[in-house]
Every structure is written in C-alpha cells, then in structure tokens.
Point group: C2
C-alpha cells in the first residue's frame, strides 16, 4: 500500500465559543453521561467499516489545514476503543429490518457514553449514516470518552473537566482536561468538528502548496474534524505522550471534493528507558506494518524531522510516527491505516505509565523533568504550526490550544548535564534519533 501526500495548505478561521458542556467534578460542565457508563454496553456504530480518527498537530511539511485544525482545537484521538467495541458486535448480529429505528436507538445509546453531546445535531448525523464525516464524529467522540476513562482509571480518582464549546462559523468541540491529579500533572483530550468556508488567505496558502482549488466568490467550502491529546504525568520516570488523528474535506465550487488524513503519536520521556522506547516504537510499527512495510520507517523519520527543536539541535522526544496530507490510494485504505495507528495509542502508552507512575525519584530528577518541560513549551510555541495558527486566528479557543502546555516548566541559564549522566544519555538520543525496532 502506497500513500501519496496531498499538498493542501492553511486552515480556517473560527471562533470558539463556550457552549453548554458536561462536568465530572465541581466547576466543570454538564455531562451527557459520565465516561465509563457505556463501557460495558455493546455498541454498533454508524458506518462501522469506515470510522476515522482526525485531529491536531500540524506537520512542518505539508501540514496546512490539518495543522490549523490541530492547533485550533487541541484535537486528538485513539480509534482503539471504538473499533474494539465494534468488533464485539459484528454487523451480522444486527436484527434485520427497520434500520432507521435501530440506528436511532444505537445512536442515542452511544451518545450516552460520550463526554458531551455530539457537536453535530443528532438529526443531521442520522440523515447521513454512511458519510465519513458522520462516522468520524462518532468515532472521535467515543474515543475521547474511552481515552479519558483509561486515564482516569490510571490516575485513581481524578476527574476530567469537560468544556463543550461552539464555533460561531460552524461546528465546535469538546475539551476534556484532568489537571493536577494523582498520576497526571495535566492530561488533555480534545475533539473538534468544524465546517464552513476557508478564508481567502487560507485558499491562497493552499494554492501555494500546489492545489489550485476553484473557489466561488473567493471562498472554499471545508469540513474538518479530529482528536488531539497531550498527557504529562507527574513522575519523571513516566513519559509524556502526544497523539492526534484528523480528517479533512474541501469542496470546490463545482462540487469536486478533496480529502486527506493526518496524524501521529510520539513519546517524550524525561529519562531514557530502553525497554519502554522499544515497546512504544514496536507497538506503532506493528500497527503500521499491517498496511505496508514502508510506512513505519517513513513516518518514523517524518516524526523525528517534525518534532525537531531547531535552535536546541534536539528532538522534543524519542519520536514515534507522524504523517500528513495522506490522500491515496483510497479514502478507505488510508482510513484503515489511521485507525490502526489510533488503536495502537493505548497499548503503546498506558503500560508505560502504569509501570512508572509509582517509581521513586530524586529532586534532581524532578528538576530535569521541569527543564525538559521547558523544551516542550519551546517546541509548542515556536515550531508547532497548528498551535501558532490557532493562536494567531482571532476568536479561536485559546484554552483548548494551550492545554498541551505542561502545568509547570523551568529554564536555567547554561544548564548542561555532566558527562555520562542519565540526563546526558537522553540528550544524546534527542540529538541523534535511534532505530528502536531492528
């Protein structure tokens, strides 16, 4: 399977408004249903075979609209939960006849498990059950709830605050954040589903990237959605993870449609743990290998290239996979790949947190973690295209974009680890990325 990179550019301007949401603890918002409540229920989604995860985190090369959306909403997801549950109830198990009614029942049931009601009106979702946009919105909502549930379980009690917000120009999002918990310093899982018209400037940027899209009155219709997450544990021996998966559609004036996917998963440990790094990369590689032997090497390198803090000469972390503008060989095939990647997030990451969240550590190790948090901030504010696009877009939801920043960070002048220290060991890897799977 060979993927081709689309060359579509810059994203939409939106205005994120705080809408009625749902809360899991005091001070947060109304929740459609607490996460976990739907966990034991078998579910059957709309468009079962074509669910996709779409989201944030822009690519330095070829990010564009994907990037924009990523940053704007702090999108991110793991399709894992949805797919796992979908497999439990194969299509053949559905009762025949009255599919409309059945769909309605299933939709209502699934909705109760989300962190907040879907962004799109339920009637609209019911009206286009086979459309990728419907499948994806349900997937990212379900994924969000499942990831939050997994994190809350590990944290041992901390709750997520849930903010459901609306975008004035069309769509909205749901941002879930667990802050200062037992295990996690800050964990954000956010989804967004937006649509409308791209600005003249956005269309111009897309043209610069090789797509001469036909506009009507200077406008271009678009639809985008995704899920994005950054999880910072407290313990310096438990690594930070970032992941996001996203999907875009652009419709020209003559009705001609373009679509593409983007996403990735990457790990940022404070200290190198060889075994963890191998586990993480192997899990991602296995997900990629199901769709072609060239994908992991290609997207592993892309990840190392993208998360490069140029002025430090270091990567942000030990990488993972990163890709953008995937628009071939077919929507279904790329989606299946994206789904596999998203499915790999929880098995790649959660075991590492469970393994290390109770490790003992010294004040020096905590300090080094804080210095690395400073580098994380540097990357996100200076280089991450999605973050920057989001922040510079008037009316975007700043809190959803900046939920990726750690709770605390530190900058020391001329800090330099001593030779042969554990700090020097991870720096060496950040400066010279390794091959973890061969």
């Amino acid at each position: 399977m060979a993927f081709r990179l689309a060359r579509l550019g810059a994203g939409p301007c939106w205005r994120g408004a705080r809408g009625g949401g749902a809360g899991l603890r005091a001070g947060s918002w109304r929740l459609c249903r607490p996460p976990g409540a739907a966990g034991a229920e078998p579910s059957r989604g709309l468009g079962l075979g074509a669910a996709a995860a779409a989201g944030g985190g822009p690519g330095r090369r070829g990010a564009g609209l994907a990037a924009a959306l990523a940053g704007l909403a702090g999108l991110a997801a793991a399709a894992w939960g949805h797919v796992a549950r979908a497999e439990m109830v194969p299509r053949s198990a559905s009762p025949p006849g009255r599919p409309g009614e059945k769909e309605e029942d299933e939709l209502a049931r699934r909705c109760r498990g989300f962190m907040a009601p879907p962004v799109t009106d339920l009637r609209e979702l019911r009206g286009r059950p086979g459309d990728m946009k419907t499948q994806m919105e349900l997937l990212i909502l379900e994924t969000q709830a499942q990831v939050c549930r997994a994190l809350a379980q590990v944290d041992g009690g901390a709750g997520f605050s849930v903010d459901r917000w609306e975008r004035k120009e069309g769509g909205g999002g749901i941002s879930c954040v667990l802050q200062d918990g037992h295990v996690f310093e800050k964990a954000g899982v956010s989804i967004s589903v937006v649509h409308g018209h791209l600005s003249e400037e956005a269309v111009k940027q897309m043209r610069n990237r090789g797509k001469n899209l036909k506009t009507k009155d200077g406008k271009l219709s678009f639809s985008a959605m995704g899920v994005s997450s950054v999880i910072h544990p407290k313990n310096p021996h438990a690594p930070t993870i970032h992941f996001n998966y996203r999907y875009f559609e652009v419709e020209e004036a003559d009705g001609n449609k373009h679509w593409w996917f983007g996403g990735g998963t990457d790990l940022t440990p404070t200290y190198l743990n060889q075994e963890d790094a191998v586990h993480f990369h192997r899990t991602l590689k296995e997900a990629c290998d199901r769709h072609g032997p060239d994908l992991y090497p290609k997207f592993k390198k892309w990840c190392d290239d993208y998360f490069y803090i140029v002025h430090r000469g270091e990567r942000r972390g030990i990488g993972g996979i990163f890709f953008d503008d995937l628009d071939s060989p077919s929507k279904e095939e790329v989606f299946q790949f994206v789904q596999s990647c998203a499915q790999a997030v929880v098995p790649a990451y959660i075991p590492l947190v469970k393994k290390h969240c109770n490790d003992s550590f010294t004040p020096q190790e905590k300090l080094w973690q804080q210095l690395r948090r400073g580098r994380y901030v540097e990357f996100n504010l200076l280089y991450d295209r999605g973050t920057k696009f989001g922040l510079f877009t008037p009316g975007s939801r700043i809190e959803s974009i900046l939920m990726s920043l750690p709770l605390t960070a530190r900058w020391e002048y001329m800090h330099s680890p001593s030779a042969n220290s554990k700090e020097a060991e991870i720096l060496e890897v950040l400066r010279h990325p390794r091959d973890w799977v061969h």
Copy 2:
C-alpha cells in the same frame, strides 16, 4: 524635538562562540575585574559627550535589524552609571596635552571595571575615540557592570556568571546572569557588539521596509551594538523589568551611512501597586520630557501596542516606553534622548525591588506569579521579533537569547481569577492600559 522613524529591516546572521570570559563564582569565566572594583574611581571616557546605549527587544512595527540584534544577543542597558560617573569628572578637569597617552590610561582604567574585556580590540577603540561605535561600546560595557553591581547589591550576595562569547563573522558579546539568588529568580544583563555584512535576505527585508539601500555584490556592511536585560525577582510583589537600548549603522557600497536607535523600558508586575506604577511611569516620563513633550505619550502607547499578547487580549505588563528606528533630527539629539531613557532605568526600578523584596506573600500569590510567568514566556516565544529572529538564525547564542525566560512558569487550564480579586485587578489593567501620569 521631533523623531522620525527609519524603516530598515531584518538583521544579520551570526554565530556566537563561547570565548574566554570572566566569572564571579565557581563555574563562570575569567573576569577582567570584579564589578564594583572601579566604582570609586573617577573615570573619563572616550567621546564623553556622545555615549549611547544600544540593544535588544524588537518592535512589532519597524523593528527589523534592531529586533534581530536584540534577540540574538539578549542586548540591554542603562546608560545611567556611565553618565553619572562622567559628570563627576568634567572635561575641564583633564590635564592638557598628550591626549593620546591620557586616553590610553583612561581606557585601561575603565576596562578594569567591566564584567569582561571589551569585544573590540583595545587598539581599535583607541584608534577611533570620537566615533559613536567606540563611545557606545564603552558605554554598554560600563553600564553592564554598573547594573550588575546594583542588582548584586540588592540581592545581598548572589554572584553573576559571566560568559564572554565571540561571533565568528565579527564581534561578540558578554552575557551576565544571576540565577536563583536571594532576591532574584533570574536576572540577565547582556551586551553585544557585532559587525559584518548583512545577508541577501536581510537586505531584502530592509528594502521591503522602504530603504532601497545600495549593495555591493549583494552585500551591505553593518555595525550594531546594544545592551538588554530582563530581571525576574522571586517575591511576587516585586515586579519584573525588561529594558534595552541599541544603535545601528548600515553602510552602503558608495559609503553612504544610515543609522538609527531603538530601545525601551517596561514593567511586568504580578500584582498592581498603584504607587509603584505611577513612580515607574513618572520616572520614564521625566526622562522623555527633557527631550520633547510628545515623546512619552508616543512611546508609552507604542509600548502598550508592542507588548500585546494578542491571543490573550492582554499586555505582558503595565508598559513603560518603547521605540525603534529613530534616526532624526540628528544622531546626537537622538542619542541624548536614549541616554536619558537609559539613565532612568535604575531610579525607576531599583526602589520598587527594595521596597517589596521582603514582602510577605501567600502560596496563592506565588502561584499567580507563576501563571503570569507563563504569559511572559508566551509573549517572548510567540511575539517577540528579536527572540524569534535570534532563535531561527543558525549559530546564534541561544542561551543569551533565552536568558529572558523566567526560571519557572506555570500553565493551568481555564484559570480565571474571581471577580474583585487582586488577580482580577491586574488583569483589568493588562486588558485596558491606564494613563499613570496625569
């Protein structure tokens, strides 16, 4: 006195190399002479009447090369000390005759008071005593030592680390940082003196800003110097200050020279103290008023506009003054103005630190300080043109640029001060800048 704004753009690429420096404590570098050693000595500088302070901190509008230099070296200065000492020994007090010998003696004597030897070779400085570049280099060196001395005195014992570095393409700098002291969390005072040829890209950016400068083989000769400082005290009731003053010269292929000054001083308190704000602004206004009644209002507004964190809808602090591209009515007159502004830094700031450095404070107040530090990081990494230009210039001295970042910072999701709190009070001022002097 009316100032006109030059429209010159983008800056040089340089490579900052660590050279032999001087240290005030273990781990820092060799020092020409400890600061304070020259304090009691009368001194008489070269080009006494025309000393200038030049430095960092780019303007959002019209910053260009100034901005570039600011960020690259973390430039900044107060001309105060030099001028005060110069006034102690008027020209008429100099012995007549043998001016060359006398100059040599004075130069050597002044040099002993600096944090490190001048960037430019002493023989070259002696060869052009009346040149603004000479006057300025000596001024910023002297200023750096005096500011460091004032800070060390307030801190009550903490020492500055001194790094003297060289720029491969011409010139260099000296970065002095006091970190984790008694009073100061982090205080950096840095100077740089650089020269060489502007890159094709820099010349192009200058053209875009309205200066159609004639190049030779695509190159343009430039010289720039400045002093820049950011001082973060530990106590949340003691404000952060940033200041920088800088001077630039560009020489066209036919020998035609252009010059301009830039600079500013601004305050970032964690909590509003009305009395402090009035004192700070009044001191700066008095310095400006000596050169024209229109200057303070104009540069106060420019400061409020420049230090605007767009995505937050807040200023970084309560302002001060900011200006750039000043190139009229004459070099001498603009310089006199810059000198007055720089002279105002210590009297505007040091009394505030002395007043508050022992104030009692609650953990909540410390937390709010940390959140405001986060905003400081956001401004510096996202908006400050000098910082960004510096970081994106291969080979620039990263540690000198990022010494402006606080030691620690914090980001909480959806933090919002309660109504009528002290936190809400300062936010209101950051959202709606006040007139402090009328």
